[in-house]
């Protein structure tokens, strides 16, 4: 493409946000263009080219657009701006800063800078003159809040470079040159704290991507204990509406063991984003003692914002994650909901009159989803440090039916499956993660198993498996009781059922709105599971099923009080004493 002359065009057709443009020069797939509409410039992306006609999806409302309106192509794809200042920001799907926009309403064609390029940062050099460097190598560091934010060789730099100079430690603006690099042909390149990267391309500037080997703690028992997610792993949460997807995701965002959290609110409710804006600055990250907002970036394209930008939002969020991963940090990406993203794809595919796949989704849906999930992962950087992007997406299956294209495609791509069940939600058993349908493939990874056995307790994974079996057997017993009646089965069936109820109430259920119960550290989870299994191991000889249920109800009630008490507090120990008494009484 000739860099001196931008390709231009004019509008020849409009259907909703799909606009056809006749072009006068070369255009590339996914190239960004602006359509001039009065004083406003509407951003759009090329999604199909046929002859001299380019189909572009407009990231804004196309109301008032006319045939003949002028279009100017930009010669690059949709890019994210990367640099210090991304944290605690609120972006839309195209990385416009929502906080610096004027007025209550979003104005069409108003684009704001993602990062304040004039903001000053205290820079400390890491690289020295003469060092040989490659893309993503660390040149220096600034403090973004408490976080060491590395200034890196731009990802777009190919091959090796020699550091010609690095500025000494001091205060610089983000846009100032902090290093000069010489490429293999001797040409010099200035590097500032800011770089750009096309969002739809994965950042691969690392040495290797091994299998995940560590577990990320979330403080949610049904995840950490039952189906742990690996650091750098992938998981998804499908569930009908009203089953607590958002509450669960917010809990993970608040408690997740990560340095940086990126929340992609993709086509969901605006009030949920407001909840994050409002609550996160007030909440304290227990690991750093700082406000949760300091480690959080929000990319939000709520359901009423333009559909095409919704598709872009998940890529923008992922790119920001990969950027922080390159600094050797643990990043957690939460996307709510990937179904809305898939629907955005469907709307465009439909307008382009492509032949549809299942449920009118585009035929390449499955590969699009797989590609996206594949961008997560723990990596070893060129300098030997490690970083990770853990990705958890929610899926909103139509009609709550898990046999629909988005859920099925995601199931192939994600390693953890947290199925929310309508049945559990109806019974107010929250989080409504179904203990039987859900799984974590990571429990089959030998490296994860040995990590858990070492970190939590020897034989931990065996205990988890035992608890899972108890839950499954309890469910079977419950079905038998329902078919044959309370009296129609031996008391041992009731016992089996009540053991599973005990695990359900005490381990699986968790009150996300209780100050103490909301977050349960692994140490506490270990204690509780051990104690609960101890109770399950007891032999009883109940005469009647009523006696059995009464005993377990009492135990459950005391355990619940324990869950509501501070770990190892006076109250906690008091309840523990009561449990021990009940247990010894019975022996």
């Amino acid at each position: 493409m000739n860099p001196n002359r931008k390709t231009a065009g004019k509008v020849t057709g409009v259907i909703s946000n799909l606009v056809t443009v006749e072009v006068d020069g070369p255009v590339s797939q996914n190239e960004i263009c602006y359509i001039q509409l009065g004083d406003a410039r509407l951003m759009a992306e090329v999604i199909k080219v046929t002859g001299r006609k380019a189909s572009v999806q407009v990231y804004e409302s196309t109301r008032g657009l006319r045939g003949g309106d002028k279009v100017e192509f930009q010669g690059h794809m949709l890019e994210a701006t990367l640099g210090p200042g991304l944290l605690s920001s609120n972006f839309d799907g195209l990385q416009n800063n929502l906080a610096t926009m004027e007025g209550v309403f979003l104005k069409r064609g108003e684009y704001t800078a993602p990062i304040d390029v004039n903001k000053e940062w205290d820079f400390t050099p890491i690289a020295k003159t003469g060092d040989e460097v490659r893309a993503a190598d660390w040149l220096g560091e600034v403090k973004e809040g408490w976080l060491p934010h590395k200034i890196m060789v731009p990802f777009s730099f190919e091959g090796t470079y020699r550091v010609k100079s690095v500025v000494p430690a001091g205060t610089y603006r983000a846009k100032d040159t902090v290093a000069v690099l010489t490429d293999e042909s001797g040409e010099e390149h200035s590097v500032s704290m800011i770089q750009k990267w096309p969002v739809k391309v994965a950042i691969n500037a690392y040495k290797e991507k091994p299998r995940p080997w560590r577990v990320m703690e979330t403080g949610v028992r049904c995840i950490d204990t039952f189906n742990p997610i690996a650091e750098g792993g992938t998981g998804f949460i499908p569930g009908p509406f009203g089953c607590g997807k958002t509450v669960l995701q917010h809990a993970i965002a608040k408690q997740g063991e990560a340095d940086v959290i990126v929340m992609a609110a993709c086509g969901e409710r605006a009030n949920e984003v407001v909840e994050i804006f409002t609550e996160f600055p007030e909440l304290v990250d227990p690991r750093t003692g700082r406000s949760l907002m300091e480690r959080t970036t929000i990319v939000c394209n709520t359901s009423n914002m333009p559909v095409a930008a919704r598709e872009a939002s998940v890529y923008t969020a992922m790119t920001i994650c990969e950027y922080y991963r390159s600094m050797g940090l643990k990043v957690l990406l939460l996307a709510d909901s990937t179904s809305r993203w898939a629907q955005a794809l469907r709307e465009m595919s439909n307008r382009m009159e492509e032949l549809p796949g299942a449920d009118a989704f585009p035929v390449d849906l499955s590969s699009t989803i797989s590609n996206f999930y594949a961008r997560a992962g723990a990596v070893t950087l060129n300098n030997g440090q490690t970083g990770s992007v853990t990705f958890i997406g929610t899926v909103s299956p139509a009609g709550g039916n898990l046999k629909e294209p988005v859920t099925e495609s995601t199931k192939k791509a994600a390693r953890c499956f947290y199925a929310l069940s309508q049945n559990r939600a109806d019974k107010k058993r929250y989080p409504a993660v179904d203990p039987i349908d859900s799984y974590s493939k990571y429990l089959e990874y030998p490296e994860i198993v040995s990590f858990l056995n070492e970190k939590v307790a020897p034989g931990w994974v065996d205990m988890v498996m035992k608890a899972k079996t108890l839950v499954l057997r309890g469910k079977e017993a419950f079905e038998q009781i329902n078919i044959l009646g309370d009296d129609g089965v031996p008391v041992s069936y009731h016992e089996r059922y009540w053991k599973s109820e005990l695990i359900d109430f005490i381990i699986l259920q968790q009150d996300a709105f209780d100050r103490i119960d909301a977050s349960s550290p692994l140490e506490r989870q270990k204690f509780m599971l051990t104690k609960v299994l101890e109770v399950c191991d007891m032999e009883h000889d109940f005469e009647t099923f009523e006696e059995c249920s009464a005993w377990y109800k009492e135990v459950i009630n005391i355990f619940r009080q324990m869950n509501y008490s501070e770990f190892r507090s006076e109250d906690f120990n008091k309840y523990l004493e009561q449990i021990n008494k009940l247990m010894s009484h019975d022996k």
């Binding site: 008032g64 657009l65 045939g67 009118a360 329902n482 009523e546 249920s549």
Partner: protein
Amino acid sequence: MTNRAFQRIYTQLEAITKATVSLKAQGVSNDELATVDGRLAQVVKMKEDTVTLQVFEGTEGIPTNAEVTFFGEPPALNVSEDLAGRFFNAYGRPIDGGPEVEGERRYIGGPSVNPYKRKQPSQLIPTGIAGIDLNNTLVSGQKIPFFADPDQPYNQVMAMVALRADVDKIILGGMGLSNDDYLYFKNMFESAGALNKIISFVNTTEQPPVERLLIPDMALTAAEYFAVDKNEKVLVLLTDMTLYADALSIVSNRMDQIPSKDSMPGSLYSDLAKIYEKAVQLPSGGSITIIAVTTLNDGDITHAIPDNTGYITEGQLFLRLDSDTGKVIVDPFRSLSRLKQLVIGKKTREDHNQVMNTAVRLYADAANARTKLENGFDLSDYDNRCLAFAKDYSTSLLAIDVNISIDQMLDTAWELFGKYFTKAETGLKESLIQKYWKEKEA
């Protein structure tokens, strides 16, 4: 709409379908309004110089040489204080015999509020109905539909909620309202003496279905005027959104779009979200709360319309006839107000959350007991107590004819707990039990 200078007039249609016409025209802009043979229409597609218009009233009897006049602007509404107390049709024209409203002309379906500029909803909207206030508390700035079968009294409940709610303006958007229901709303508002704070945009079943597509945007443009410009608390009632979605599918079908689930357009989610997301709590104190009705087909919530709605709205309220007590109740299992946690225990008593959850759990135990009974098994003592509790709970709290304060609701629940259960069976937090437990009266 009056004729203006330099209007472009065409007289050669290229194609006519049941809902759309196409013609060759120049300089037309997307979304703009036009008249085709005197009927209002809107530009929905442009390809080269062929323009496709959606004719709201339908195309019956339109000749190929019909006169097409373009207005050069999208649908608009004149907004001012004079809107209050008036009844309008889908085009924003008075149907109450009064004069046209003078005021600033605003295009309907305008831009969204910047999410960053929103405030978190925090004001409770009490309705006196325990099935709502106790279990599914409403909050200003919320959007919530009633999911109801067509034979249930949803319009009556909605009118009741609207009149009890403490708001500055009530805006009714009636889509495919039967004439009887339209008159019911009108009488109800008049007899409550509340007419001066009510604005209605009505499309009845007698009018063409495609017109309905304008109703929500008209109603919400008026709502935004009062909420944003006048800092008022506005409650918008939309009934029935299922008929709105049906109109969407008619248009998309006529435009040869590939349908997705249940022959609904693939963009149904975005189309509905654009409406519901207008619900907002503004920093200035103004707010828009939306209560809608989505009628179900035989209780089927997996149909695309209620399904997409459920993912957009902040909860849903189910009405159900309780065969045990013969009363219409707000179903505690399927109903949900997502924003209730913002006010429960904060604007209401500390025990609200636990009392609510415990009562619903015990009600679920009763449902299990009922299944056992139906399958011919003996009931335990606990089962029997659950069943008795359920009956009491349904009559004194869930029924829609209950009208008491939230504290009274909580006290009633504690009475029921004490009457039927032991403390351990309720599993309530000990500190709450000490404070509120009511022993069974001897």
